[in-house]
């Protein structure tokens, strides 16, 4: 026993101290056939509809958009657009399209395709979840309200030019044009698919869907005509679905699978991490994620700010990172560290049981109170909820843990006066795009504090809402740093009211075979999870 402990700890130390990993010097190779597994079936590959973390990265690769990101970074670059220009008032965006880009059906991509695709994403008939992202385009209300099917704010003077007119300055607009919902699709393919475009996708991205056997596999082949010459690196990737993560891991260890998309089950993590090949298999990347507990400001006693502050001090976040085997770091503010605007100097509420008790007594609850903590029911979330329950018990707060299916927790959170506390694990906020504003509106702003919303603290601060609008109006690229700072201040100021307990920033774990090349950052890409365009096979 001691022997094994010694061997494991020594190995871990050696790993921790080893110099730069080998991949840092690698250059991508062309070619290769990659097998990836997921537990869940792929719901849809329609870019106006698909909105889960598995199909997100596939849709990214099947289609192209005006804007995109440098692989592995949150840095925006023009993609289908060759150049773009923003007017001084931030209300007009003009894009020049690349010439000669073709859909995989052979037709050239023209400006009206861009207009059609965004109108399709906004049109209520599409039943798309992303319509609201385009809210700043002129005429949005008419289309989303069903009074029109064309957006008056999108103008296409010729086949190579798209002009967007906004009804308000929107500093996130370039990010909006890079999200999946802005993917450009050919209208004739959408119409030909007769409502089944999600199963018969046609785009102009790095890959083409060659085969889809329902419930079994999807085969993606490299698009030989993709407009960036060295992209993608692999020739083909096959996605096998319905694979239990534990079995996928065994197959990976046997060399049958190249990437286990669901990562490593919590119960196996330490065993794999400490195995001889473990370090090469585990990709452990920072994602734009914050796990938090919402404190419902409309339910007693959480309407009292002192109570909210007290419970903030009561939670031992380090212990929760240990439950996750170190796959997370403690959080003290809503923004994750990798997000622009994150305030490194902010300390938030430090874990201090005595102080928490004192504050609770000051608020009029010297003996604590009873409450309910909601959580989703898949491992490890109930265990984390129990850890929080124990921490709260230490200051006299008796919380009943209610572990339910995700859909029921979401329903409780969006019902006024229903859920006093919710641990967000399993449905925590991961950014749609790497911009701090994405962490505000739906989850902390007044707009989200409505029936069916995601602001489960039901926190609404009109002053902060005004500052948020002001920050989003700073669309001048020269003001990027000022804008990030303005947003950072909003999130640290919000903590004075303590509508949340920011608990952890969780990292994503993907397991890959030793033959897979490329930096960890393209396997846990901040904007698309696995970046199929950038991964490659070592020869």
């Amino acid at each position: 026993m001691l022997n094994r402990w010694l061997r494991n700890t020594t190995l871990a130390t050696v790993l921790a101290l080893s110099p730069l990993p080998v991949w840092a010097q690698e250059t991508p190779k062309q070619g290769g056939d990659v097998l990836i597994t997921y537990k869940d079936d792929i719901a849809t590959l329609d870019p106006a509809v698909g909105y889960d973390w598995v199909n997100w990265s596939m849709i990214k690769s099947l289609y192209s958009r005006l804007m995109d990101y440098t692989p592995g970074t949150p840095d925006l670059i023009p993609s289908l657009a060759e150049t773009f220009d923003v007017s001084a008032d931030g209300l007009t965006y003009t894009f020049k399209l690349r010439k000669g880009v073709k859909f995989t059906n052979g037709r050239e991509v023209i400006a009206s395709d861009v207009k059609y695709s965004i109108e399709r994403a906004v049109n209520p008939k599409t039943q798309g979840p992303g319509a609201g992202f385009f809210g700043s385009i002129k005429g949005y209300e008419d289309v989303s309200g069903g009074r029109s099917t064309t957006l008056e704010g999108i103008e296409t003077p010729d086949d190579a030019t798209v002009i967007f007119h906004l009804s308000r300055p929107d500093a996130t607009f370039l990010h909006v044009l890079a999200i999946n919902f802005a993917s450009v699709v050919p209208h004739e393919a959408v119409e030909a698919a007769g409502g089944d475009f999600g199963k018969k996708p046609v785009g102009s991205g790095t890959f083409i869907l060659k085969e889809w056997t329902i419930g079994q596999r999807l085969v993606f082949e490299r698009n030989p005509d993709y407009f960036v010459k060295e992209m993608p690196h692999i020739d083909k990737f096959t996605v096998e679905v319905g694979q239990e993560p534990l079995v996928a891991l065994l197959r990976l260890q046997k060399g049958e699978v190249d990437i286990a998309g669901d990562g490593i089950p919590p119960a196996k993590f330490l065993e794999i991490k400490n195995s001889p090949d473990g370090a090469k298999m585990i990709v452990d990347g920072e994602q734009l994620h914050t796990g938090y507990v919402t404190l419902n400001t409309r339910i007693k006693p959480f309407d009292n700010v002192k109570v909210r502050q007290a419970v903030n001090m009561a939670v031992n976040k380090e212990r929760i990172t240990r439950i996750l085997n170190g796959r997370a770091t403690a959080a003290n503010q809503p923004l994750p560290p990798a997000m622009p605007g994150y305030d490194k100097s902010f300390t938030g509420y430090v874990y201090d049981v005595a102080k928490a008790k004192a504050l609770l007594a000051e608020a009029g609850f010297p003996d604590g109170f009873q409450t309910v903590l909601y959580s989703t029911n898949t491992d490890p979330q109930p265990r984390i909820a129990q850890a929080i329950q124990q921490d709260l018990a230490a200051i006299g707060v008796k919380a009943e843990v209610r572990a339910l299916a995700q859909s029921n927790v979401i329903a409780a959170g969006g019902t006024e006066g229903e859920a006093p506390m919710i641990w967000s694990g399993g449905m925590a906020w991961i950014a749609d795009f790497p911009d701090p504003s994405n962490f505000y509106g739906p989850i902390l702003g007044c707009a989200g504090a409505v029936s069916g919303g995601w602001n489960w603290s039901w926190y609404c601060n009109a002053d902060l809402d005004r500052r948020a609008v002001a920050a989003d109006s700073m669309s001048d690229p020269a003001k990027t740093i000022d804008r990030a700072a303005a947003w950072g201040k909003i999130f640290t100021d919000i903590m004075a009211d303590a509508p949340w307990i920011p608990v952890i920033n969780e990292r994503r774990v993907v397991a890959k075979a030793a033959r897979m090349g490329g930096s960890d950052k393209i396997y846990v890409d901040p904007t698309r999870v696995i970046n199929y365009d950038a991964i490659f096979v070592k020869q």
């Binding site: 719901a43 039943q127 089944d196 239990e244 969006g414 707009a447 029936s451 995601w454």
Partner: protein
Amino acid sequence: MLLLVLRRLLQTALILLGVAAITFLLLYALPADPARMIAGRSATAQTVANIRRELGLDQPFPVQFWTYLHGILQGNLGRSYAQKTDVGALIMARLPATLILMAAGIFVEVVLGLILGIIAALRRGGPVDRVVMMASFVGVSAPQFVVALLLLYVFAVTLGWFPMSGFGSAAHVVLPAATLGILGAGWYARMVRSAMIDVLNQDYVRTARAKGLSSARIVLRHALPNALLPIIAMIGIDIGQFMGGVVVVEAVYGWPGIGQLAWQAIQQVDIPIIMGVTLVSALAIVLGNLLADIIAPLIDPRIRAR
């Protein structure tokens, strides 16, 4: 006979209607809102309301149920909320896999159960009987998930005799069918044993023995057919059970059946898929029982008189 089948088919239709109504009502009463599950987190309240209206979820319950029934009567199971595709096509794409697994699983459990049951009955009270009954007890009580992983680990990972997961070749079906079969065989072995013991004590068996017939002939020709009746009924029940209840086995072996489809649909509150799979499973249970009722008189003429 024909009258029986007709009457039972009519009953089947009524049962399916009842199942549909109850399932639909339960899903309607759930606090979870399908529109919000589709809309995700960044959607505005207006987007959610739009989706709800497009799906017809803003309609009162009787209207929603009537619309659904109307579709069913025209052979239309509706469109999946999350996948935006025809539910009938999704189920049809996965049904063959479930049927293959069901057939293979029943084959394994019946063959294994018969052999073990007969052996135990012939060696009644002896050590062989005790070992077989003990083993069948373990088989019946072992959790499917554990048996599945155990078989997978031994025969696929360590020995490499069978593929670890997937669908396509005959080799793929062995481990999932064995998992189902081992668990079911326990039940069958116990039933065959007690039925055989009953029969072996009958006078006609003693007569057969007195005539000097070989013991193989006595068992296979005279005793077994009379012991088979409860087994036939049980196969009928199994058809139904396997249609809906092989979620765990399908999950472990990556078997692309309808159990997997149902499981995922439940997570996403994808009501049309949940309804579709429920109805197909209910249909299978009813038809399985009907099949057993039709076969039983063919084997035992005494039943026909009833």
